[in-house]
């Protein structure tokens, strides 16, 4: 749920954020705005007068700040520690004000307030001019994608309404803000305490020719380009009231849709047509950004919570690696490599920060090398998700590019993120929806596709047994392919060595190739030492579920050293070959291989027969 759907005026409500530090007069300004719009009810006002005497900092006058500093602890400390929301309306427009603290240790609160704002009022104390905090506030505002700012030069009464002081501040701000990409910057000299240029133009600043603050806020257009952006709808829920109806419910993030339009499920590439659009009160012909609707499609295609329905000619990116800005919000620091939950739209998936490219000093905008991010720090990172996600760059579409990271153990919201771009070239290569499926291909061959992954020490007999298995399968009319470690390293992987990093890449490539071959319906035999459990797990995860059999060809080291068919152990033991498994690199034996073959005890032919029997038993091939 968002704003109320019915508002007093034609213009959409303006959501604004006020930025300023403790003494800039931020809360006073908001209090003043409410007071002058006659929005302080009598009972609140009498409470305010009572409170002003107790906590106030303005002597006998009403302290407007007390009106907005909500929580008791804040009142006692005299600072705003969280985000407070205030609502007011003039005859022309209604406003939602997020009041957030300005101290550096509250960067996260400010980012929170900014995430839902269209405009920011940046307060500057006329006596102090531009401060570090002004730069910080402006940067965070721009980082969160706010394009319109009001530079409110407050306490202008305390510098005798001096036009030069105002002009200097404005000039300095404009020069700094060039790099921040604001569309409009409106400078106004004000006194929040006395009301100059708040609701009405002040005679005391006759040199100022612009409108007073309220008039500016009433008229500013924060262009609504959500409706012009391509159609996007994250699916929140599958609506199935009875067997004859299946619809996909969600709020349209951008663009519009009408009955009969083609849509694509971003992650699967499946295309269908919109058969029905159902709103809260019944069927509609069309719907646009912000509408909460249920779409029924013409075809029965697979759609679940978290999927994104999109315009087929202007699709979102789909990738599992991307670059993003992160604002760290937890007191526990970021650990690259640790698994967090990433929530984007209605989708939640495990994710890790794979590379922290730099930290941004929020005061100077300098890029600094960093290993971690602490509370309130901003960084630019690469992230990887376990499942591909559909997204647009945050700059193009806030709802499609914003995400949060959740700590998997404490459940706290650890970070807010804004996607810059996808990382792999695959990002804009959309998955083709294949008409002939993998199962159809395999069925034609009277078999089920599977990867047989032979692992074991060099000389254990992997290739020998795999060759015998393939010959037997071939004789039975099965369609097969063989990927052998030595052969692959002469072609596909000839650029790779034997360091742990290269070994991981070697297996990743082989796993991908095996996956393509099983997609073709083949039984794929892979023969690789693959000494690390993690790599074999990687290969297993690349395969379709249930289509990967790990076959451990088990022979003790002394047996294989004695066999040494290629003379490699001799050279490795002599130190002529580095990184040799079993000699100076460990072999991690499988803990749960589907098939274990003891090649020191049984002959290769008998072991090959056992593999064939197992394939028949598991119904990958037909029994003879």
């Amino acid at each position: 749920m968002d704003d109320a759907p019915i508002r007093a005026s034609a213009l959409p409500p303006l959501r604004l954020l006020t930025c300023g530090s403790v003494d800039d007069g931020k809360s006073t300004l908001i209090g003043r705005l409410l007071y002058e719009q006659k929005l302080i009810f009598d009972d609140h006002l009498s409470a305010l007068e009572r409170d002003s005497k107790k906590y106030g900092t303005t002597g006998e006058e009403i302290d407007f700040a007390l009106l907005v500093d909500g929580l008791e602890a804040e009142r006692e400390q005299g600072i705003t520690i969280d985000v407070a929301y205030r609502y007011f309306a003039t005859s022309k427009r209604s406003f939602i004000v997020a009041d957030t603290p300005g101290h550096e240790q509250y960067t996260r609160n400010m980012a929170t307030g900014a995430s839902n704002a269209d405009l920011a009022i940046i307060l500057v104390d006329a006596r102090k001019g531009l401060l570090t905090q002004t730069f910080r506030h402006s940067y965070i505002v721009s980082l969160l994608g706010i394009r319109h700012v009001v530079l409110a030069v407050n306490k202008i009464d305390l510098v005798d309404f001096d036009a030069t002081i105002f002009a200097d501040i404005v000039r300095g701000f404009r020069a700094f803000a060039k790099q921040l990409g604001f569309l409009t910057i409106a400078p106004i000299p004000i006194s929040a305490r006395y009301g100059d240029n708040v609701s009405t133009r002040s005679a005391r600043t006759s040199w100022y020719e612009g409108p007073p603050l309220v008039e500016l806020l009433e008229s500013i257009e924060v262009e609504e380009d959500r409706s012009r952006a391509p159609f996007r709808m994250p699916v929140q829920w599958v609506n199935r009231p009875h067997l004859d109806f299946r619809g996909f419910a969600g709020s349209i993030a951008s663009g519009a849709v009408k009955r009969g339009d083609e849509i694509v499920v971003a992650s699967s590439g499946r295309i269908s047509k919109v058969a029905q659009i159902i709103g809260g009160s019944g069927e509609m012909d069309s719907a646009g950004a912000g509408d909460a609707v249920t779409l029924a499609l013409a075809d029965e295609i697979d759609v679940a919570r978290g999927d994104v329905l999109a315009a087929p000619d202007r699709r979102p990116e789909v990738a599992d690696q991307f670059a993003a800005h992160l604002i760290w919000m937890s007191s526990e620091t970021l650990l690259p490599g640790r698994s967090y939950l990433l929530k984007i739209g209605a989708k939640t998936t495990p994710a890790t920060v794979t590379d922290l490219r730099h930290r941004v000093d929020v005061n100077t905008l300098e890029k600094l090398a960093a290993k971690t991010l602490s509370l309130n720090e901003v960084g630019y990172c690469n992230l990887a998700t376990t499942a591909p996600i559909a997204f647009d760059a945050y700059g193009d579409n806030h709802q499609m590019g914003a995400f949060i990271l959740i700590d998997r153990f404490t459940n706290e919201t650890a970070a807010a993120g804004m996607i810059a771009h996808g990382l792999r070239r695959a990002t804009n290569v959309h998955l083709q929806n294949l008409t002939v499926g993998r199962e159809a291909r395999a069925k034609l061959k009277h078999q089920r596709a599977v990867t047989l992954w032979f692992t074991g020490l060099s000389g254990a007999g992997k290739s020998t047994i795999a060759n015998l298995v393939e010959a037997r399968l071939h004789a039975r009319g099965a369609h097969t392919a063989m990927l052998d470690g030595d052969n692959v390293r002469h072609g596909l992987n000839k650029d790779l060595g034997f360091t742990p990093v290269d070994r991981v890449e070697n297996i990743r490539r082989v796993g991908e190739v095996a996956r393509l071959m099983t997609d073709a319906g083949l039984i794929v035999l892979c023969s690789f030492i693959s000494p690390f459990r993690a790599e074999r797990q990687l290969a297993r995860e690349l395969a379709a579920p249930g289509e990967f059999l790990e076959i451990f060809v088990d022979a003790p080291l002394d047996v294989v050293v004695a066999r040494d068919p290629k003379g490699l152990y001799k050279r490795a033991l002599a130190g002529e070959i580095k990184n040799f498994t079993g000699v100076d690199q460990p072999y991690e034996a499988p803990e749960a291989a589907e098939i274990v073959l003891n090649s020191a005890v049984e002959a290769a032919e008998a072991l090959a027969d056992r593999v064939i029997d197992e394939l028949a038993r598991r119904r990958f091939i037909e029994s003879l």
């Binding site: 009598d42 609502y87 929170t112 949060i404 959740i406």
Partner: protein
């Protein structure tokens, strides 16, 4: 809020039940409206009363507003949530109602003991709500957080939503107490010496336990009238809620203890 929920799940029926924490001191017309609504819309209505409090004779008359609210509302709500093991409860609270509500999250986390920790709330960015909780913990969810009182009435008018008749002005028997107009809804309200119920044309902006809810004098008998009256209003709706004035920061205290 019920109307919004029905629309959100349409064409499916509402997938969750409705819960009313009945203090036994609600206006009779409220109860009639509650039952009629559940019947008309075919909704599952659960009603819970703190039986222990009832047995101890806790009431707004005998115990005062603070103790009554604590036992019959706050504790009763906790009992009900525990009894049915709900992991989330929707409420219609809005941020414009009261200062401590202005910082309330839309998804507001509660510990296993139903406590609210305003100093340690999850940041809520964009429309990405972190709904994850551990066993025993729960969420209070306030979908109307960003609506104002005027928004609610304009929505009621636009969607023609039925409301409790007490919101419309009518001649009703009231007594004046501490500046508030208290309706004599049944014969449980003891009259003070010299008090005599008078028929006045009044309506309610908010509905709580009847002895704790002040009426306002009003001529507003239609939705249009109510909206016009509200635009000209100079007092807040919770002004009629006597429980908020118990002490400074009293709403925040109640909320920390589990009050909606």
């Amino acid at each position: 809020m019920l109307h919004v929920a029905l629309k959100a799940f349409h064409p499916a029926p509402l997938p969750f039940p409705l819960l009313h924490v009945d203090t036994t001191w609600k206006f009779r017309e409220m109860i009639a409206f509650r039952d009629e609504t559940a019947r008309r819309l075919n909704l599952r209505l659960l009603v819970h009363t703190n039986q222990d409090g009832l047995a101890r004779g806790v009431s707004p008359i005998a115990s005062g507003s603070a103790a009554h609210t604590q036992v019959m509302k706050t504790e009763a709500l906790r009992q009900a949530l525990d009894k049915w093991k709900f992991d989330a409860a929707f409420g219609g609270a809005r941020r414009d109602e009261e200062k401590s509500r202005a910082k309330e999250r839309i998804f507001s986390h509660r510990s296993a003991a139903h406590a609210w920790d305003p100093r340690n709330q999850r940041p809520e960015l964009w429309r990405l709500f972190n709904t994850r909780i551990k066993a025993g913990e729960s969420m209070r969810v306030f979908p109307l957080s960003n609506w104002t009182e005027l928004d609610v009435w304009e929505y009621v008018r636009a969607e023609q939503i039925p409301v409790v008749p007490l919101y419309f002005a009518k001649e009703r028997p009231v007594v004046e107490r501490d500046g508030a107009l208290v309706m004599v809804d049944d014969d449980r309200l003891p009259l003070l010496p010299g008090e005599r119920p008078q028929m006045r044309r009044v309506r309610f902006r908010t509905l709580g336990c009847y002895p704790l809810t002040g009426a306002i004098e009003s001529e507003a008998s239609t939705l249009d009238d109510i909206i016009d009256e509200m635009r000209a209003a100079t007092t807040s709706e919770r002004q009629g809620r006597l429980i908020d004035h118990d002490e400074q920061g009293s709403m925040e205290k109640k909320k920390r203890e589990g009050y909606f």
